[in-house]
Amino acid sequence: MSKTIGLIDDSRVMRSILRKSILMNNVQVDEFLEADNGQEGYEMLSGHSNELDIAFVDLHMPRMSGVEMLRRLRTEGIQSVPIVIVSTSADLEMQKTCMDLGAVGFIRKPFTPQDIGTLITKIFGVGVPA
């Protein structure tokens, strides 16, 4: 089954890198939904929570951080979308905060396409999703 994947990052290049890394793992993608700031990302996740299979969310973004986005989604009971936080930060406390707020994964930049594949496999179960 094809996946609908959210990419929320203020860097157009980082969204391209994520797209490339996901596709390199032979994930069949129906559609990438993208947002370039936290507020639009939040609205996208709220409005498409039933369609998105996974979303990659940058931790530091203009207008709303990844943590604030997780907090709002949790407050509003929108937790159907598995969210992976993407960050340069190696702060374990921050990672714990994100996981406590419902994130299903945390990936540190720089990452390899294999890192993305491993994470996707872990989230969707055994084997790369088809």
Binding site: S11, T88, T112
Partner: protein, 152 residues
């Protein structure tokens, strides 16, 4: 790890993981300022208070952009895409350097920008220059940071 080792470790990791390129500091090719038409600059605050310039040749700039984003050789690489890629590359290198030096510490970085010349030397700041070869092309990084960071 000291500042130089952290910066070297960072550039090697970013190139290896995301651009699939190899950096070698041991035998830097000879280079003139004109060899570097692309220069990025970013200011940081946190474990390093300073400014990083990354100087790359046109060949390296195109290779970094194509590899980062996944643009095939037969696809057009638009100038704004190339510049965005170099900005992101600089962001990754500096961000990773900061987290190597202080994994749990908060830090702040401006959005990297393209500049025509490296920043002039600032009084009271240490200047760290790293020259090397990026897949045989000359490559240079210049990091200026506040004196107290020298012992980091």
């Amino acid at each position: 790890m000291d500042v130089k080792s952290s910066l070297l470790s960072s550039i090697e990791e970013v190139l290896d993981k995301m651009a699939f390129m190899f950096f070698d500091e041991s035998e830097p090719p000879e280079a003139e300022p004109d060899d570097f038409p692309f220069i990025t600059e970013v200011d940081t605050r946190g474990v390093i208070v300073g400014k990083l310039n990354v100087l790359v040749t046109e060949t390296s700039a195109r290779e970094i952009a194509r590899n980062l984003i996944g643009i095939r050789d037969d696809e057009e690489l638009y100038p704004e895409t190339l510049e965005d890629a170099l900005r992101e590359f600089t962001n990754l290198v500096m961000g990773r350097t900061m987290t190597i030096l202080n994994p749990a510490g908060p830090f702040d970085m401006d959005v990297p920008r393209l500049v025509s010349h490296p920043a002039p030397r600032e009084v009271g700041r240490v200047l760290l220059t790293i020259n090397g070869a990026l897949d045989d092309e000359p490559f240079q990084m210049m990091l200026q940071y506040e004196e107290q960071q020298a012992a980091a």
